[in-house]
């Protein structure tokens, strides 16, 4: 049945995502407080031994040494703490480090915090920061931000596999429909395919509704060594696979414009020795920063043949109630994408889903889940596999 679990999530917290009045310190505090309060049998903050803060440092308000602020706001100044940065995949990589910290036996209980405060920045400065994780020398200086890079990937995808507009629109429609059911989501409003297709152009073929929003938010996880997890709860969520990969920063240097090989590598590593295979996964949390990214993810992660993700999406299989619900929390598209918080937020959703606590968006009898977190246009990626207690 594969190797034993490497780590267990015993508590999780999540602020609202959106344009929020709270500043970054307050967001960290709220997410950590919630995570602590969520532990069924309670947890003494003093028993938290290390902290991993995932944040890009958007706006540069505290680019260096931000982890010490997170330790302060977690109520544990003095804790060993480090900021983890892999652009939009920061959260997935922070979780991976947390898993290693407990799986190695070095720590019993660690805290993962994902944070980004993005909306308090004047518009030009925001646009500057939105592009800092792409390739500066070749892509950015050709006039591309991430919307442009994913626009190129979508254009190439359409050239190789045929028209893709309907499927892209369906990704947005589905994730907005899921967002309606998530009280933390940035957008809790349904959209139609016609609205999506008629949205203002941003980076053709991508329009406004193909892009995730700029959001504030934070999420936190308490990650424990599996053999001590039941001290905290009867229903821990086990992390049974962790994989990561990287690729050339610039899309032009990659082997294909329609694949994210970092995702493929991360999924391969995560499934290697895992107690279940792709067929037994009940739900996916994938990195849909742009609608095309969800199609690529389904293919890169091995849940769809190449060029088949559009058909799979249009079949309804990836909706709540479908065969393989994807992004039941609304995904980056509707829930929002506070960069450093996203990977942590995906694990938060899985924590709820596998414990049957996801409310209106609960995936029936969810036992096994996958999270997929991509940095930028695919320069880095992290994949985790989870199973319920």
């Amino acid at each position: 049945m594969g190797r034993p679990p490497r780590a267990a999530i015993v508590g999780a917290g999540h602020t609202r995502f959106g344009a929020l009045p709270e500043g970054p310190r307050r967001l960290v505090r709220d997410a950590v407080d919630q995570a602590v309060a969520s532990v069924d049998r309670g947890v003494d903050r003093e028993s938290i031994q290390e902290l991993f803060l995932s944040t890009l440092g958007f706006s540069g308000w505290q680019l260096g040494n931000a982890a010490s602020i997170a330790a302060e706001e977690a109520g544990r100044p003095g804790l060993p703490a480090v900021r983890v940065e892999n652009a939009c995949a920061s959260g997935g990589f922070a979780l991976r480090l947390a898993v290693d910290a407990v799986a190695s036996g070095r720590q019993d209980l660690v805290l993962v915090v994902g944070l980004e405060k993005m909306t308090d920045v004047p518009h030009p400065r925001r646009r500057y920061w939105l592009g800092v994780s792409g390739d500066t020398e070749w892509e950015r200086l050709a006039g591309l931000t991430f919307a442009g890079v994913y626009g190129l990937m979508a254009a190439r995808y359409a050239a190789e596999y045929g028209p893709v507009r309907e499927a892209l629109s369906e990704v947005a429609v589905k994730n907005h429909a899921h967002g309606v059911l998530n009280p933390n989501a940035h957008f809790q409003k349904a959209v139609t395919r016609e609205q999506v297709s008629a949205g203002p152009p941003v980076a053709a073929p991508l329009g406004l509704y193909d892009c995730c929003p700029v959001s504030d938010g934070a999420a936190a996880l308490l990650v424990a060594r599996p053999d001590v997890a039941r001290r905290f709860t009867d229903s821990p969520v086990y992390i049974v696979g962790s994989g990561a990969g990287s690729d050339h920063l610039a899309v032009q240097e990659r082997s294909s414009l329609t694949r994210i090989d970092a995702s493929r590598a991360a999924a391969e590593e995560a499934f290697r020795g895992a107690p279940f295979d792709r067929k037994r996964v009940d739900l996916l949390e994938v990195h849909d920063c742009f609608t095309i990214a969800e199609l690529l993810a389904l293919e890169d992660l091995g849940f769809s043949p190449r060029g088949g993700a559009g058909k799979l999406t249009l079949s309804g299989a990836t909706r709540l109630g479908g065969r393989l619900p994807v992004n039941p929390d609304g995904g980056l598209k509707a829930k929002g994408h506070p960069i450093g918080a996203t990977g942590v937020s995906q694990a938060y959703e899985v924590f709820l889903q596998l414990r049957g606590q996801a409310g209106a968006r609960q995936v029936g009898d969810a036992q096994r889940a996958l999270t997929h977190n991509v940095g930028g246009s695919g320069a880095t990626a992290a994949v985790h596999l989870f199973s319920g207690g």
């Binding site: 190129l152 254009a155 980076a203």
Partner: protein, 485 residues
């Protein structure tokens, strides 16, 4: 003084904004010169022409970037000499290049500039907003032509008749007014019709084209205009013909000219359509504050920018001697096998590049460093192009209507200005469409453009429009210039 013009190339940038054609906002004296020289180099491929040793630059680009010519052309140690960006500057450059000092066939003259308009001039619709680059390679090997420089002025207060002035000028060039056959292109600012008549009377054997007329003489890169005259005339000369190209200096007081004895051998030529009017806007002005500003854009430190200019400007990649993998950009280590010793630089093709993917960046979606460009041009395309199978580059698309380029179309890479950072313009390659039909080059007929009729009407405010200008890439088309009516 026995060098012929071996070849020449002409670059006329054309940008369409509404009904007007002007230069693109990403071109300047440097990029136009490099583009003209690159075209010249392509024409000379296979002719046995040797690498340039000396380059005479007539243009306004800063002498501080003389090294950049060497880098952009890929000619180490190129001797770059500079001349003022005006007609006398061009004549001086030609005279210097024609002087034989052992670099025969290895000297080129390039005149390239854009007009920088003052805000007042920019609002004046009569102002011609010319820009372009013209490159000449001079060689004595063909021995067919003579370049002879003549100038004659008149003492202050002495104003000879027009005919008398003409006779004097021709004598200065060693030509007999009555015994010579040939052609003169004469540029003058005032009274072009009277000058036309005077030439016809003074030198009946010579076909004369007078160009000029009243204009607001602001922002016109006169070196380029002078080079265009030479270019046009040289194209037409046949065996036994004599040609004179010249400009009147300050009214009728002086005449600066070159004499050419035909034929001039043309290996090919390239030109674009007629020049256009500038738009009544000051958006093309380089704002010094903008150039000096610390960019909010993606930061590329100056030394890092300089690190791989061969790649940035000339698409030089590297090939691994062990596994033969060709990679771009060069990073000093083979992508495939990891080898870092003995990698060979290899220039990738810059024309006929296939578009693998293209997106259109709508205003607002651009990185901040392109904000001022977007203010002027609006949406723009960015394409990933195939340099070789498996080797790609990402280029902004320029000189094109956004949203027309398609996957599979062909583009060429040209050097352009990217954006200002910390007091300097950063240059890099952009793509221009070259697939006929699918994507109109700006300046070509665009069936969707509603505004051509307005453009035709513009000739009434542009007397110099009367001058025929070489167009098309037709090589040896024998078009005669129109005479002013």
């Amino acid at each position: 003084m026995a060098r012929s013009i071996l070849s020449a190339s002409l670059v006329r940038p054309a940008w369409q904004l509404g009904s007007f054609r002007v230069e693109g906002p990403d071109e300047d004296s440097f990029t136009l010169a490099v583009t003209a020289l690159n075209r010249l180099g392509r024409q000379l491929q296979g002719t046995g022409a040797r690498t340039l040793a000396r380059l005479h630059v007539v243009g306004s680009c800063s002498p501080e970037i003389d090294w950049a010519f060497s880098e952009a052309l890929g000619i180490p140690g190129l001797d770059v000499r500079r001349y003022p960006s005006n007609a006398p500057g061009l004549w001086g450059a030609l005279a210097a290049a024609a002087h034989d000092d052992g670099t025969a066939g290895r000297e080129a003259v390039v005149a390239a500039d854009t007009a920088t308009l003052s805000p007042e001039a920019a609002g004046d619709r009569r102002v011609r907003h010319s820009a372009g680059g013209v490159a000449f390679l001079l060689s004595k090997e063909l021995g067919l032509s003579v370049l002879r420089h003549g100038f004659r002025g008149h003492p202050p207060g002495h104003s000879p008749s027009m005919q008398g002035a003409i006779t004097g000028w021709l004598e200065a060039l060693g030509l007999s007014p009555h015994g010579s056959r040939g052609e003169v292109v004469f540029e003058v600012e005032e009274e072009p019709d009277r000058w036309q008549a005077a030439w016809e009377q003074a030198a009946p054997g010579i076909t004369v084209t007078v160009v000029g007329g009243p204009r607001v003489d602001v922002g016109r890169p006169s070196a380029v205009e002078a080079a265009l005259l030479l270019w046009e005339l040289a194209r037409r000369l046949r065996t036994g013909d004599t040609g004179v190209v010249g400009q009147a200096v300050r009214g009728r007081n002086g005449f600066s000219a070159f004499r050419l004895d035909g034929p001039v051998r043309w290996l090919g030529s390239w030109g674009t359509g007629e020049p256009g009017l500038n738009p009544p806007t000051d958006k093309f002005l380089i704002r010094k504050s903008q150039l000096d500003a610390v960019s909010q854009g993606a930061y590329l430190p100056h030394p890092t920018y300089l690190e791989n200019l061969a790649g940035r400007w000339r698409l030089v990649g590297e090939r691994c001697p062990r596994c033969d993998t060709l990679a771009f950009p060069a990073r000093g280590r083979c992508r495939s096998c990891g080898r870092s010793e003995g990698l060979r630089s290899e220039a990738l093709p810059r024309v006929g590049l296939e578009v693998e993917a293209v997106t259109t960046i709508s205003p607002g979606a651009q990185p901040t460093e392109f904000d001022s460009m977007v203010e002027t041009v609006g949406a723009y395309d960015v394409a990933v192009v195939r340099l070789q199978p498996g080797v790609r580059a990402t280029f902004q698309v320029t000189d094109a209507v956004a949203g027309r380029l398609r996957v599979g179309d062909r583009v060429a890479a040209v050097l352009r200005r990217l954006y200002p950072m910390e007091g300097e313009w950063r240059y890099g390659l952009k793509a221009i469409p070259e697939t006929p039909g699918s994507t109109p080059r700006l300046g070509e007929r665009d069936p969707k453009s509603p505004a051509r009729s307005a453009r035709r009407g513009s000739s009434s405010v542009a007397p110099r429009e009367r001058r025929a200008t070489p167009r098309g890439s037709g090589g040896r088309a024998e078009r005669r210039p129109q005479r002013p009516r």
